[in-house]
Symmetry: C2
Subunit: 487 residues, 2 copies
């Protein structure tokens, strides 16, 4: 797999060099093709599992079952199945639950390994974006989307940002943890003071904290954010309140004029069009007014790129006459980027996703999952302990009870803890953490676990290791060959 | 209650002005008297509970029981008992378990309120100690003792330090959390950079991390540290390893020559005499060699103060010829301070505590407990969740099963979370945290809880509020009047 990034885009490249070959002049057709290819490839790997297992199930009473099953698996899934599950099929029934969980985990591992070794979503714009961000007056962009799987692609697809240049930390309802963000604020400042990274502490840039809430334009009352009762107004207001509370926390916890800037983004999960709520002059946000990317797409379609961009700038200036120029430049870029995603959904998904509701393939529990940048693949439950995250996990289990358990299939849970390999003992602590959470998970849902309807894969990953060395490490899996007993 | 601190001790005060009126010339007799008065007062408040309840139990079938019981309580405990517990005694038996838990909680609350409003352990040396510490080359002293209740007095009594000037964070076996200390290191640096507190970042001082492990000279095989199998050598080596791992974590996580200094202290919990392990020239520690305060006490007893101090300095220089002069000055002060505590135990506890084993009065679970600076009062279980702290809690419950449950008395657990009131929503989060942990605790020990042998008091405290405003706030208690049902 080739590493993308051959096109050298300089920070000063004019708009015209970055866009083109879409219906809309500002849309990047090449990006859309590449992103769709990747999404398609990953999604079909997961989608192939059920049909392949159906076929294999139909073969289970044939005499050369194992050979034929492995052939089907190789052809349709690209990997072989564990022989010990197939081998027992002649005695009892083929254990399809276990086989299904195993296939989901294997597909996930292949997808994850590909991500960390081949960098399929890498962007040539990393350095350019960091410079642009600072130029707009910010030294970090810290985004908290809702943990809903329909927002998992918000950084790389919806906003078209280089994912390594943005902090993403998802929370149910986008209600991020203020203490966690406060700690990140401190870490960021310290790096600026000590190491001048990404710029020195005396540069007049700020920490920009963004929240992405969501709603559904097709089914607003049922397919919006579950954490806010599918009410877009409540979701926006809650995001706004949390942002202001974080701002106040920074101001109260640190002196010398410490503060942050705020950004509230709404996402229509049916079309991937965003709304940007506009900052007022006083550093606050107006949850009730916004600029809508879908509307701008329609309004500027057919215009030459430069004119379309000017129209967007003008709309933003009208809507927020008091906002700082740097903030408006950043917002304009986010809007322009989103036009590509709007067209992506139009071209590849008929303008409205067929799966407007939940259709995640597995639950991701723990910390990490940088590789999950695709829509509706993972229900995130970022957590330290099951004890604290029980409400989020219960929601995930409820979703999968409908998606999977209702059809006799188990809930696959990937338990994962990333660690800093350069800190002594960090791996051992991550391993212990992973095992403890996997145990607590089985203890919380004993009936599902007992009936083979909840399976877990335990992983850790060294985030200080780059490339292939930074792949996930498998610790354990609830689908495993029973130990051979001694005679 | 008067606030201490009238004696103005200037940073430059000669040794002779700070000591005197003990048997040993370097011992501070006035301090010993004040500390003993406080310890005695708190301890007798807790010790009065069982005899008072015995007396009240004997009265329970008398006709004017409630009046007489309240008189006994007022006289012996200094407070009245909840009428609704007494009122039911004529129907069934007096519920002494519930009454006992209620009395422990009430006594604890009175003790805690007194601490935060009257500052009984305040020190006049706070500013002087901070200046001295910086003069020795350190801008913070971060101490992790074992969480064992027999070390709870290590800061204010054993080492005679102003407790507000030292960070204390206890862990089972003194095995402190490296990620937590790393975060504290970062916070400390940021304050130096941004606010010049306690000094500016360019001052050539370092972060000093200390571990206090413990052993028992009378019963080394049974009354040492449970986390290390009562093996003093293992406890010292484990402390040393953890310190070196933290040092390496700082060096690997931050560049620009970031590092820390280390200190390993051993405590004989029978006599409160310390051992100081000496730094080698390379910034490491020798776990196998130390200077013993008990030995120095004997060796310098009878000498005039100045000569005794010189002898101590000489011993330290002999033992660690390569250690920096500032480190040796700090060690000398810790040794001199400890002489007072050695004499304190000699004079007030016969040279060896009668309770060389566990004799804690309650379990303290959560975060906070700054007011607990007394020996054998509290078994600490610093925790965020029961899930992560289960092994520590199990040890505590085992200890109290012997101390209390074996005698029919319940285990009192104070669940407490301190918060920064200046951070918006922090109180609400602390309250939710407290309730969640209290629930998880009852769920972990359902049999004890069901039989009324586990009781909890839920508290939060605003650490940003000073004085009386910084008292604990009671949220809930498992000992409470049953709700009146409507007819
Ligand atoms: Zn949501
Ligand atoms: Zn300041
Ligand atoms: Zn211990
Ligand atoms: Zn550097």
């Amino acid at each position: 797999r080739r590493r993308p990034g051959a096109r050298g885009v300089s920070p000063a490249a004019p708009i015209a060099a970055r866009v083109g070959s879409g219906v809309h002049a500002l849309v990047r057709g090449d990006d859309n093709a590449r992103l769709f290819d990747y999404e398609q490839r990953v999604r079909s790997a997961f989608d192939a599992i059920v049909p392949a297992l159906k076929r294999i199930s139909a073969l289970q009473h044939e005499e050369d079952f194992e050979t034929r099953a492995q052939r089907v698996a190789r052809e349709r899934l690209g990997f072989e199945l564990p022989g010990w599950i197939l081998a027992d099929a002649w005695v009892e029934q083929l254990d399809l639950r276990r086989l299904y969980a195993w296939c989901v985990f294997e597909t996930y591992l292949r997808f994850s390994d590909d991500f960390f070794s081949a960098d399929p979503l890498g962007s040539a714009e990393e350095a350019e974006f960091q410079a642009f961000l600072q130029d707009c007056g910010f030294h970090i962009l810290d985004i908290s989307p809702c943990a809903d799987g329909r927002l998992a692609h918000v950084i790389r697809y919806v906003l078209r940002l280089p994912y390594r240049m943005v902090r993403r930390k998802s929370y149910a309802g986008a209600l991020f943890d203020i203490e966690d963000s406060l700690a990140k604020w401190g870490e960021t400042e310290l790096l600026r003071f000590r190491e001048g990274t990404p710029n020195t502490a005396d540069a007049p840039t700020r920490y920009l904290k963004a929240v992405v809430y969501h709603y559904s334009s097709s089914a607003p009352d049922t397919e919006g954010c579950a954490a806010h009762g599918s009410d877009a107004v409540r979701a926006a207001e809650a995001g706004c309140e949390r942002l202001l509370a974080f701002q106040q926390a920074v101001e109260n916890s640190y002196c010398c004029g410490a503060s942050i800037d705020l950004l509230l983004i709404g996402l229509d999960t049916d079309t991937d069009a965003i709304r940007l709520h506009l900052p007022d002059g006083a550093g606050g946000i107006e949850p009730g007014t916004w600029v809508d990317a879908a509307q701008l797409y329609d309004e500027t379609r057919g215009l030459p790129a430069v004119e379309a961009a000017e129209r967007i700038d003008a709309r933003l200036r009208e809507a927020a006459p008091e906002a700082p120029a740097g903030m408006l430049r950043l917002l304009a870029r986010l809007l322009e980027n989103n036009l590509s995603q709007i067209e992506y959904v139009q071209r590849h998904h008929g303008g409205r996703y067929p799966d407007i509701g939940h259709a995640e393939r597995f639950i991701g529990a723990g910390k990490g999952f940088e590789e999950v940048q695709l829509r509706n693949l993972t229900y995130f439950a970022y957590l330290d302990t099951v004890e604290e995250a029980a409400p989020d996990l219960d929601v995930g289990v409820k979703i999968f009870s409908r998606l999977n358990v209702g059809h006799g299939l188990p809930i696959p849970v990937v338990v994962r803890f990333d660690y800093h390999g350069q800190v002594p003992g960090a791996r051992e602590r991550a391993v212990a953490h992973c095992r403890r959470v996997a145990g607590a998970l089985a203890a919380r849902y004993p009936e599902l676990a007992g009936r083979g309807l909840l399976h877990s894969l335990q992983l850790v990953r060294d985030i200080d290791a780059g490339g292939v060395g930074g792949r996930v490490e498998v610790l354990d899996c609830s689908v495993r060959e029973p130990a051979q007993e001694a005679h």
